[in-house]
Point group: C2
Chain length 219, copies 2
DNA sequence: ACCCGCTATTGACACAGTGTCAACAGCCGG
DNA sequence: CCGGCTGTTGACACTGTGTCAATAGCGGGT
């Protein structure tokens, strides 16, 4: 069952290489099975090293999982998608199409990590996912023409972060349950985003910032 | 730190009562902290019993957590919301408004359980959440007039399940981050659902079932 | 080519938390 | 008052994580 046939002592490698190799195995395992059911011993065996080395490089099991999540969630880069497009709808369609193609590459692990089944139940994991959503939200805002200065706490960004949840849910229905086709997923995400951009964002921007109302004085 | 001042042996109670009491404590603890950081010993202490009793009633830690998730996720009952409404938009607005009010009651724990931070990484947990989403999806479909026979695998239901993710994400932005107001959340969920009902569902229904296309011959 | 130091890698240890189970003891009927 | 039923306990075994001094592979100096 050992991926690497190496039975004896592991070759002495450059730390970066070794770390990379271990991470690759961890990504695969955490994609196949939920967090609790993957032991550090298993990761070590898959990587052809001993358990001690895992902790040497990543500290704790949570530590290596955080790196796995980071690796999965920071891969997509929406910037590449922005081609020449005039209407909001065209830009939306380009972004959504590009995202679906990208996420299809990493398939299972992306779904497992972003969904509820892979998570360790750690605030740090939540933070990483939240940061990734916020980055995505900012990029989407820029892609659809709402590129002005929006703070992280602005309702515009918040709306787009919520939209990211719709995206994840849709990808799950597409890749895991296979209850919608890629075309149907594309349709759903496109129409929803168009509705958000055209109907929700303008109205939301007219409201005062909720933080500004509930916490009037700085502090 | 013991919630119940009872130091000595716990009173002999009716199993249903005891079970209920333990579950109440577990709901609170799992709402405050992520799964991994809550030990069975802690739940036992909070409930004023010993750890052995927890396992006696719920089998495993996972077992009690599953019951917590079930309790949280099956509370909302969308049927009550359907009042006299003519247009699709009115029905959508009623449903969304009712849901937001309901979920506000359970606040923290609902968000913790449905989001990625409370989960244990168990397929069973995923299944419970999926079932809850599917129930909600079916109810929404019925509420907005798509009440005909839709199988669990139908793209219509899948689209609504994905919408449930948007709902959760929005509730999180509202209750946890406080980056949107209830009105903004209401607006987002309403517009998105209207777009789904009016634009996405009709188009999705025209497509052939994805399972039918990708798995032409049964198995 | 040899040795030597650096450090990647190991194996054994300690510990926390879960799950099991026979024994105990509170409540109820006779 | 006593005997059983069963809710409840405490001790045990086990799995898996995290720590650390000891080991051994590789490169550089001579």
């Amino acid at each position: 069952m050992v991926t690497h046939g190496e039975a004896g002592r592991a070759r002495r490698l450059d730390p970066d290489i070794r770390r990379e190799e271990i991470l690759r195995c961890a990504v695969r395992l955490f994609g196949e099975r939920p967090y609790a059911e993957v032991s550090t011993a298993e990761i070590a065996e898959a990587a052809g090293v001993t358990r001690g080395l895992i902790h040497h490089y990543f500290g704790t099991k949570r530590g290596i999982y955080l790196d796995v999540v980071r690796a999965m969630v920071l891969v997509p880069n929406l910037d590449e998608a922005s081609g020449p497009a005039d209407s909001v709808r065209e830009r939306v369609e380009q972004s959504v199409g590009w995202f679906l193609d990208t996420v299809a590459l990493h398939g299972g692990t992306y779904v497992a990590v972003t969904g509820p089944e892979g998570i360790a139940g750690d605030p740090e994991v939540e933070r990483i996912l939240a940061v990734a959503d916020d980055i995505a939200a900012r990029k989407i805002l820029r892609a659809v023409g709402y590129g002005w200065d929006s703070t992280e706490h602005s309702p515009e960004r918040a709306v787009l972060r919520a939209y990211c949840q719709l995206v994840k849910g849709t990808v799950r229905e597409w890749l895991r349950s296979r209850s919608v086709t890629r075309e149907q997923a594309y349709l759903l995400l496109t129409e929803a985003l168009v509705a958000i951009v055209e109907d929700v964002l303008p109205a939301v921007s007219r409201y005062a910032s909720p933080a500004g109302r509930e916490l009037p004085r700085g502090h």
